[in-house]
């Protein structure tokens, strides 16, 4: 457990030690910001324009998928390829840790960074979902729940510090956790209330479903990228190959969303059925963003993710035998 945490911590922190993490964050925030603006325009448009579901504007757009196509390969390209190029893989694979754990730790680290990438977009939601906050004023329970802010602060310290700050970081983390649990219990049982009642202007569940789809598909793209990265020696090559592999799951949707290809009126058409089975942009814009959680899509993401991780472990083992 400690071994795994050490490796996850290093891999996660590595995104911030080089330019790559910042490039991915900046690119993603820029794209997200532009799309947010675009969505707000659509939501407030008069006449025949406009969209049904706010998340469709954000993630059902060709521009979004062009950005989203590039992001996962950026996050995974270094993971194994660079270690092979510089020889540090030898140090890693001779440490007392199984290959499968190395793969899972590296995967979790990039998945965590991917989640971090999406966190700022939560700030769009109050506008997109027309949320109304009815802040009832401070109480003991609410103060305790607010104490959970110490959790992220503690985590940041634990991620980046190796010296005397570490005890402070872990204290903050556990104190925040305890304060949060105590606050929730106190609010429920004693004050019989919630932290802050929120009334959404529209149904918020389609947005939640969109995040489910984006998490699942992102997890799939990252697993594929990790596998590609374990096959080649050069991070740039790893990124390019991963882009090509991901295209299988993106191209069809890009063409449809971009208006380059009009799906046949007959939905039973074999070609179109294959395309809609594989095409993540279509899944997200037509199902998830409209609040439909289709388990066929999740099953596809889950199985490709597992296959990708399995192949990565095999590819590491293979190089011991060469």
């Amino acid at each position: 457990m400690r071994t795994s945490l050490s490796l996850i911590r290093r891999e996660f922190a590595a995104y911030f030690l080089g330019p790559l993490g910042y490039v991915a964050l900046a690119l993603f925030l820029l794209g997200g910001g532009v799309l947010f603006r675009f969505t707000v325009d659509l939501l407030t448009a008069e006449g025949a324009k406009g969209i049904e579901y706010p998340m469709q504007g954000l993630v059902g757009n060709v521009g979004f998928w062009l950005v989203f196509w590039v992001i996962p390969p950026l996050l995974t390209m270094r993971l194994f390829a660079e270690e092979r190029a510089t020889g540090t893989l030898e140090m890693l694979l001779t440490a007392p840790i199984q290959d499968s754990r190395v793969v899972i730790c590296k995967y979790l680290a990039c998945l965590l960074f991917y989640i971090l990438l999406w966190l700022p977009t939560l700030l769009f939601l109050p506008v997109l979902l027309d949320l109304h906050f009815a802040w009832p004023g401070w109480s003991i329970g609410r103060a305790l729940v607010a104490g959970s802010l110490a959790i992220p602060v503690g985590l940041v310290i634990l991620t980046f510090s190796i010296g005397s700050w570490r005890p402070i970081g872990s204290t903050l983390f556990f104190a925040g956790l305890a304060s949060w649990v105590a606050g929730i219990v106190y609010l429920r049982l004693v004050e019989k209330s919630v932290f802050c009642p929120i009334t959404p202007g529209i149904d918020p569940m389609p947005a939640a479903a969109a995040y489910v789809g984006l998490f699942g598909s992102g997890a799939m793209f990252l697993a594929l990228g990790l596998w590609v990265s374990s096959l080649v020696k050069n991070p740039i090559v790893a990124a390019l190959v991963a882009l090509a592999v991901n295209l299988a799951f993106i191209l069809g949707g890009l063409l449809v969303l971009g208006g380059f290809y009009v799906p046949p009126a007959d939905t039973g058409d074999a070609g179109f059925r294959v395309m809609s089975f594989l095409s993540v942009p279509l899944h997200v814009s037509q199902d998830f963003a409209r609040g439909i959680i289709d388990t066929r899509h999740l099953l596809l993401y889950g199985s490709v993710t597992l296959a990708g991780l399995f192949l990565t472990v095999r590819s590491l083992e293979r190089r011991r035998w060469q």
Partner: protein, 234 residues
């Protein structure tokens, strides 16, 4: 402590190591000698668990490196040739990570870090980026990494390659001192180094063990250099 039996490793059709057998008893410092391409690094990589042998067995402290790799690796401190490190990390940060990876936690981890940093003369460079270190310092970081979990066996692949004479002397001194607590297998092609630091030498040529014996005995047979040249010319 290290037991190697009929170890063979093919790279495709090329036999890098052929039927190598040797034993290193506890507490001995053994020099692994041979010309370039003799199979020294390959043998060490098999022992460290980086490569899998084509046939034969190797055990570290009774744990088979193939069937029980994690237990075997827990007992090894391995320093690869040319000592690859993460250039974007700082010295102490890197050692902290490696100590965690090797299962050390809390106070023990901090104490071992302080110990290896002092032991490998890294005190002034704790906060330097590894990418900015000179070759000699990087080598010391690699050695500190091998030592950090206090393993029973140290496997050092050319620990003095690329160092200046002062650093070579310091490293030899350190290895000699470490030999009192650890079993050490070190490879080199500098003969005088073996004479100065090792109790026993194993000479390997074209993937096979050519001769092995106590350094003192080999010295009597006309000197290590004489033996080495005779073997490699054959």
């Amino acid at each position: 402590m290290i037991h190697v039996q009929a170890l063979t490793k093919f790279y495709g059709d090329y036999p890098a190591v052929r039927d190598v057998s040797f034993d290193v008893p506890k507490g001995q410092v053994v020099g692994f000698l041979g010309p370039n391409g003799a199979g020294k690094s390959t043998t060490m990589r098999v022992l460290a668990g980086y490569l899998t042998a084509t046939s034969g067995t190797a055990t570290i402290d009774g744990f088979d490196v193939f069937s029980d790799p994690v237990a075997a690796r827990r007992r090894i401190g391995y320093m690869p040739e040319s000592c690859p490190l993460y250039p974007e990390m700082r010295v102490r940060e890197f050692l902290h990570f490696r100590a965690g990876l090797k299962g050390l936690t809390g106070k023990e981890r901090a104490d071992r870090l302080d110990y290896v940093i002092k032991r490998c003369w890294l005190g002034d460079e704790e906060r330097t980026l590894i990418g900015n270190l000179s070759k000699g310092y990087r080598q010391r970081v690699g050695l500190a990494d091998a030592l950090v979990a206090d393993p029973a066996v140290l496997i050092l692949d050319e620990p003095t390659a690329g160092l200046d004479p002062t650093q070579i002397r310091e490293t030899r001194e350190l290895i000699r001192e470490l030999g009192q607590q650890h079993t050490i297998l070190l490879s080199t092609h500098i003969l005088s180094e073996v004479e100065m630091t090792c109790q026993r030498a194993i000479i390997i040529n074209q993937g096979m063990v050519a001769t092995s014996g106590m350094v003192a005995d080999l010295k009597r047979d006309g000197g290590l250099e004489e033996v080495f040249v005779r073997i490699t010319k054959e």
